[in-house]
């Protein structure tokens, strides 16, 4: 695939120290993510995939190796133009839907009129009309995650880090959000790093899938997803290519899950 390298992960390792014990989470991982690429990290739980994402976002400092984003080594503060969507509900409960989405624009000192216009547009894009003044406590989990997603996107990040953003949602809501995410992504073509343990989610969304081994996480294999775009999240699952990819990656992943179970 063409495009310049945006995120370069070089010999990255992370060991957590828990009292007297040292727990290796990520071990000597190297790969590149190119501009406008949608990459999914999959692997058994505890394989360090979220840790890698947190290191890209500078939430966690690496124990070894480095991450370079746009030619700058990541250290201390989140790299610029990076958005992050957590699995956990991080919508500010004391702010209404529209004031949540406006947060990033407020921080950047965007004038009120422009802010209102962009928030309005984002609310329309996410199908949240009529809920502008609602507090998060009155919304469903899917709607809250939609607010979190739009809050990240409204500031036009070029790189989007997503840590199992739909992990806590039911299948139906999840599929709806997949469709929405693909639609939004195809319009703006952000570089996306998407962590998940749901293989069908990874194949539906990503250009490339990085399969991790069980702890300590290493790269087992990287797969190119050859499905054409734009993808229909329902129909794509019935295509023979999807099933072939699924079988192939499932086999590799299955070995790791078996090891975990043993």
């Amino acid at each position: 695939m063409a495009g310049r390298v945006r995120i370069s992960i070089r010999d990255l390792s992370k060991t957590f120290v828990q009292g007297p014990r040292e727990v290796p989470a990520v071990s000597h991982v190297s790969f590149d993510i190119r501009d406008k690429e949608f990459v999914a990290l999959v692997g058994p739980s505890g394989c360090g995939k979220s840790t890698i994402l947190n290191m890209i976002g500078a939430l966690v400092a690496p124990s070894g190796g480095e991450i370079v984003v746009d030619g700058e080594r990541v250290a201390g503060a989140p790299p610029p133009k990076v958005g992050y969507v957590f699995q956990k509900d991080t919508v500010f409960p004391w702010r209404t839907v529209e004031r949540n989405i406006a947060l990033g624009l407020e921080y950047r000192g965007i004038p009120a009129a422009e802010r209102a216009a962009r928030v309005k547009e984002a609310i329309a894009l996410a199908g949240l009309e009529g809920f502008e003044e609602a507090f998060p406590a009155t919304l469903s989990g899917g709607m809250r995650q939609r607010v979190a997603l739009m809050r990240s996107l409204v500031v036009d990040p070029e790189i989007l880090l997503m840590d199992e953003p739909f992990g806590a949602l039911d299948t139906h809501t999840k599929l709806n959000l997949h469709a929405e995410l693909l639609r939004l992504w195809e319009a703006k073509q952000q570089t996306v790093v998407f962590v998940t343990h749901d293989l069908s989610e990874a194949i539906t969304l990503a250009d490339r899938i990085v399969v991790m081994t069980r702890r300590p996480g290493r790269i087992k294999q990287i797969y190119d997803v050859a499905l054409p775009r734009p993808r229909d999240v329902i129909k794509v699952r019935e295509s023979p290519e999807y099933l072939r990819e699924y079988g192939l990656i499932w086999h590799a992943l299955g070995e790791e899950f078996q090891e975990v179970a043993r």
Partner: protein
């Protein structure tokens, strides 16, 4: 909101009327007939509803040196000031120490020591320093309210969700903006929960201050202690009733404010 349950309201009224009726009736029965002053239940100690109303009307009229309204005003003023000063200083201190581990560790023993001190023991000292006026009462209320608010705020400032802070940082927030949009709103939710007990304790502090504070500070506590001197149960009851009304009104007012400020919380959603 609960729907109005007329059965419950009727029962409440019945209990109130029954209680006042029994009070009035029982304190009117002579223990030994025709001997003056000897009652089965002596109104000398617990007074009588009719007497209380009579004294209330007298104290509310312009014919007294210090009317019940002036005393009530003095008590309310001191309470409100003690409350406001207490919550603002308690909030700031709780926020600063809650977000600064080292500072919290330095001050911990002093805070625990001062908070363990019975505040009533401070009344004479506070009176000595601040005189027999409004100020001493306000200071006393403040020493109580401060700690209630401080501990709540401290706890709240410590339990700010780290992921919300990260979220703000990813959205481009600087440290000042994180303080303003994440830490303070999140902490305030805890602070607000301490407002209702704070107003009640402010009132307690003020009344205790008035017990000692003397006439210049005025207030309902002064009326109570003065009535003790003259063995006047009816005046005491008047003061207690007015204090009760003040307490209820203030608590309801705070509840309104709290409901408005915390309307985003699930438990306040209609």
């Amino acid at each position: 909101m609960r729907t109005r349950d007329w059965g419950v309201i009727a029962w409440r009224l019945a209990i109130l009327v029954g209680f006042i009726g029994a009070w009035q009736w029982l304190t009117g029965i002579k223990a030994i007939s025709k001997t003056p002053g000897l009652y089965w239940i002596d109104p000398f100690f617990i007074s009588r509803p009719s007497l209380i109303v009579e004294r209330f009307l007298h104290l509310a009229s312009g014919n007294v040196r210090l009317s019940i309204w002036q005393m009530a005003l003095s008590t309310v003023q001191s309470t409100v000031w003690g409350f406001l000063v207490g919550i603002s200083t308690g909030f700031v201190a709780g926020l600063v120490l809650g977000r600064n581990d080292r500072l919290a560790r330095v001050f911990e023993p002093y805070i625990i020591a001062f908070n363990s001190l019975p505040r009533i023991a401070l009344v004479p000292l506070i009176t000595m320093i601040f005189g027999f006026g409004l100020l001493a009462k306000i200071v006393l209320a403040w020493t109580i309210v401060f700690f209630i608010v401080f501990f709540n705020t401290f706890q709240g400032a410590r339990s700010v969700d780290a992921d919300l802070i990260s979220t703000a940082r990813f959205l481009g927030a600087g440290e000042g903006q994180i303080m303003r949009t994440v830490i303070i709103p999140s902490t305030l939710a805890w602070t607000f929960a301490s407002l209702t007990p704070s107003i009640s304790f402010a009132l307690i502090g003020v009344v205790v201050g008035e017990f000692i504070g003397g006439e210049s500070g005025g207030g309902l506590g002064y009326l109570i202690i003065q009535s003790l001197g003259t063995l006047n149960a009816a005046d005491m009851m008047v003061a207690l009733l007015v204090l009760g009304v003040i307490g209820i009104v203030m608590a309801l007012g705070i509840k309104q404010v709290e409901t408005r400020l915390l309307r985003w919380r699930p438990e306040y959603q209609k």
